[in-house]
Symmetry: C2
Subunit: 441 residues, 2 copies
Amino acid sequence: MRTYDIIYKKRMGQELTHEEIDNLVQGFTRGEVADYQMAAWAMAVCLQGMTARETADLTMAMARSGDMIDLSAIRGTKVDKHSTGGVGDKVSLVLVPLVAACGAPVAKMSGRGLGHTGGTLDKLESVPGLRVERSSQEFIDQVNKIGCAVVGQTGNLVPADKKLYALRDVTATVDSIPLIASSIMSKKIAGGADAIVLDVKTGSGAFMKSLDDSFRLAQAMVDIGREVGREVAAFVSDMDQPLGWAVGNAMEVSEAIETLRGFGPQDLEEVCLALGAQMLRLAGVAPDAAAARKQLLRALRAGHGLNKLIEMVEAQGGDVNYIRQPVSLPRAAHIVRLAAPEAGYVQHIEALEVGVAAAMLGAGRETKDSVLDLGVGVLLRKKVGDQVDRGDTLAEIHVNDESRLAEVQERLLGAYRIGAEAVPKHLLMYGLVTEAGVERF
Amino acid sequence: MRTYDIIYKKRMGQELTHEEIDNLVQGFTRGEVADYQMAAWAMAVCLQGMTARETADLTMAMARSGDMIDLSAIRGTKVDKHSTGGVGDKVSLVLVPLVAACGAPVAKMSGRGLGHTGGTLDKLESVPGLRVERSSQEFIDQVNKIGCAVVGQTGNLVPADKKLYALRDVTATVDSIPLIASSIMSKKIAGGADAIVLDVKTGSGAFMKSLDDSFRLAQAMVDIGREVGREVAAFVSDMDQPLGWAVGNAMEVSEAIETLRGFGPQDLEEVCLALGAQMLRLAGVAPDAAAARKQLLRALRAGHGLNKLIEMVEAQGGDVNYIRQPVSLPRAAHIVRLAAPEAGYVQHIEALEVGVAAAMLGAGRETKDSVLDLGVGVLLRKKVGDQVDRGDTLAEIHVNDESRLAEVQERLLGAYRIGAEAVPKHLLMYGLVTEAGVERF
């Protein structure tokens, strides 16, 4: 089986066999298939597509390219959750303890932020003492003992995906639905998930800009799940403005704690309830999503989610006083007001720009080796649909190093679009794709 | 200008600007654009195509990536000739001296053979003493003095094409018409040609298997010529069987000499006359192709072409006695007959297989470093349309090392298809594409 022939076959728009895909991926992982061959193949996939079967084969070939985490020692159905990434997306911080509090085990491996999107691990590390590097055994033991854990990747997971992603990133082959779907799903499967709830973000601040493509990606991942025997529920949700108010590590932890207290921003709570309901349903803890949602709301109101977060932070070595009194979390030295330059209604907030602005303050990494400033960030005071007068505070800039402040202010002002007409409230959740079909809200 | 954006633009099917193509090609030549980026771009070109303007820009960017030969010191219009390659294609050996004998200067840089196709330089080196390595000055002086020269490449010509071709060869991006057309034309333009006559071979033994694709390639090269100010005439001619009778270095030189004596195979003579007529027309030596053809025939009958070959061999240090008495050229020790296994008509001779068989005897290179056996080869005694009886000689195998003889015999027998029905004579020349339009014969 020659790599040349595999590339040529895909170039001609033909369906590759299981063996061809497996050979290509394993050869690439071992360095026998050259980067330039894989790049040509990836471009052919971008332009010719892949069938659901091919996409599932690619997913499993990548999942098997390194270690496969065995979570069978954890009792119950392990449901993982993944978001395609957005700005202000602190859902995992709320969802993991809340779902665990309702009785579904959550063994979550998370990542770090890069560019304009934050990472759950970075946010958690705002809590002094908290460790995210755990051995597999510690990880499993913690989930069995308290019901949840959020840790960094252990072992050598999906090296094929790491290599392929780095290559796609420099060859204009990133935005291909089968390649994105298999990249996400291979990591979840190698991570040991029995079932997966996905949040496909859509809009200007998301990876997927169009609603149709977002539904296609959701469908592709549900299809992979069906082919490989993992139940999948994939939401399509809005990222035309940041989620919640806070963008920045410790600021997002505070907001997550507020949400677990029942005082969080409504959009964040709604996303958590929707995703959580599917997680409980797939874990078999609730008979259906409606019952699961009631259960989640009860747990939230009763403070069970917050208690579970405290248990988790404690189990991972963090100082729980910071959760009980979030005001003591890292804070910026200065808060600078961003004033509305005119009166009107907020029409749009370009999430990407807000993310970049926060990163410039030190909340995000410009390169892999950047050191984060955990206390800084942006707090949105006005969101889409809100009416503002001239001079009203649109947002607060929480800053330590003011050297780039003017640039940050300019970027944030540019992110806000204010117009004379009132705008209808954005839809937050656009729909849900499951094995039962597509539901548009 | 980011390479990523250039790749992405082509992926989206958009037309690249002159500057974008130039940046890409120069960056690739200097090693700043990575192989994997160029491979992804080449795949995007295969699937999205290029406009005539883009193809011309690519051609000139590649031509300018290294040395450009300046032939302005040679008087007259320099017309180059190029064949896309076939088996038994010894046209240049006949055409160069014949056209020069009619008064058009021919300053030709040729290549060596690889795989199943032979190279003009290897063939010429069958003549003891003949040197094909000449300095630019020697090359120009010889053409000014006697009217023609055939030499190996001097200087660092089209390094971008060399690099890109090597990459296309392993990434399944070879058979793209804009990429093929720009590769051929960049070399001819860097070689200093004022006008170019092309022979696009079509059929099972050629690079282009389909007649439509062959005309498309011919048109693409004429279009490049129009865009960059070089007049181009491109024939589409048959390579469904080898050209002439001989396949093998010295054997092909003998056949070329026979042709210049007026006793060559008819198909070879016809190709030489057709191409030569366009060369004389483009050189401005004859008013039109019909007049040029008469001039060529007169020169051929009068032996002027042969005399010019003798002059050229002498000028390049070769022993002209071998041209006067070709029987003294290198010869194989044994001639083995290939007998027809059944009676009937020759329906087809798979040129590729004949070329591979000759290479196995030692006439061709299996790798770049193979040493050639100049005397060996295959002499076809029956060609398509010929009637044969069982036991008739289909071909002669001229062999020194008999270790692979059985394999060669089997391959040659497999190359011949003999059937009961008489077959009409193949068309030899399918058509001609010039700036005036497409003429199908």
